[in-house]
Amino acid sequence: MELCLDERSDQDLVRAACRGDRTAYAGLVRRHYNHVFLVCLGVLGKVHDAEDVAQDAMIKGFERIRQLRDGAQFGGWVVAIARNLSINLLRQRKSTEKALGTGGPPEPARAEASHEDLRQAVARLPWDLRLPLVLYYFDGQNVKAVAEKLDISTSGVYLKLRTAIKELHDILTMQGETP
């Protein structure tokens, strides 16, 4: 299957995908996968989990494409699927950990700062703080765009970003002070 970008609109690609055109849906995947992945990463905090759930979300989007009434809304629609799947997985994990009595606080990282430390620190944030942080820093979106993607106010995004940045800094500082 060719990997070139499809210049057709989301609406046209959705219409074609409804007829079973997988090439058209592949165009939608190339256009929206990054955002779907980052949302999954923002909620789940782990790359491997985010990869799995983002893939599930894109496949489910193809299976349910005929339920989408407005093709222009595909981006938000598939991101909503990804977000719900991620939150469900997170809840399942938490209930399993609660039942098994496992899943305490993660072990402190090494003292020296690295991307791995930062990755772990980001993973320790609550998902509702991590998601705007990931969209803002990883995806390079401005506050207004993040607010639209998350369907919350810009002041709400500022509040969550401020809290996330502060908590992340505290985690990294504590890790740095851990002997």
């Binding site: 299957m1 990997l3 995908a17 409804c18 079973g20 997988r22 849906y25 592949a26 995947v29 190339r30 996968y33 990054n34 992945f37 980052l38 990463l41 790359v47 990869e51 983002a54 893939q55 894109m58 496949i59 193809f62 299976e63 349910r64 494409i65 005929r66 339920q67 009434r69 700062a113 991307h115 930062l118 990755r119 980001v122 942080l133 990931v134 820093y137 990883f138 995806d139 390079g140 506050v143 500022y158 970003l161 401020r162 940045i165 502060k166 992340l168 800094h169 990294l172 500082t173 740095g176």
Partner: protein
Amino acid sequence: MNRPCPNMQDKIIDLMLGALDADEARAVQEHLDRCADCRQYLQSLRAQGEALVGLGQEMGADMEARQAKVIGVLETVSPVEAGTDRIFPFIGGYIRTAVAAVLILGAGVAIGRWTSPRPVDVEQLRAQLETSVAASLRPVVRESILAEVDQRLQAGLSANDEKLRAEVVEQVRRDLRVLAAQFAANSEKLVDERFAEIVQLIEAGRRTDRERVAKALEQITTRTGMGFQTLAARANEPPATLQN
């Protein structure tokens, strides 16, 4: 690392995010010029932000490979499985919502009627009472009638409608009066009949006894007469030894 001034921590983050207006930003900047700890805090936050951007780029480096993997999985999904038709695709969103609301309300009403207590049917109760009261006057039957009346009375009394309850009580009272009157009348008639039968039996017994006594006297009279005649005849005959 020293902590920043507590009242400045949020403002420093807002400054970094660009969330302050010009006057607020100038005020924070003036504080930063004077406070080394807050200045260091801002530098640390900026370094953290740059690290986050770098981490995002690192994670995004494999995006094409991830996309290709998803597209590869798409090949295994049959177009037939790519969703299902709506049952009524011509029905719009508002109409579907309205239909759903009607169905839910209808189901609620049906469940409510099905589960709610049924009101007492006065006519049916009256007919049952009349039938039961008129059926029989024997004690066992009467007991069952009274039990049923009591049960219906309890059912009537438990009804919420006061008027209905009063009607039921009044009807039960009327029926009980009719029952008592019928019972009394029939009891007197039954006693009279029994008494007449006993009198007839006594009279019949008396007649039988009289007839038996009369027959016995007649037989005694007959036998006594014959005995006297025999004795008289024997008395008139001469002794045999004297003749020889």
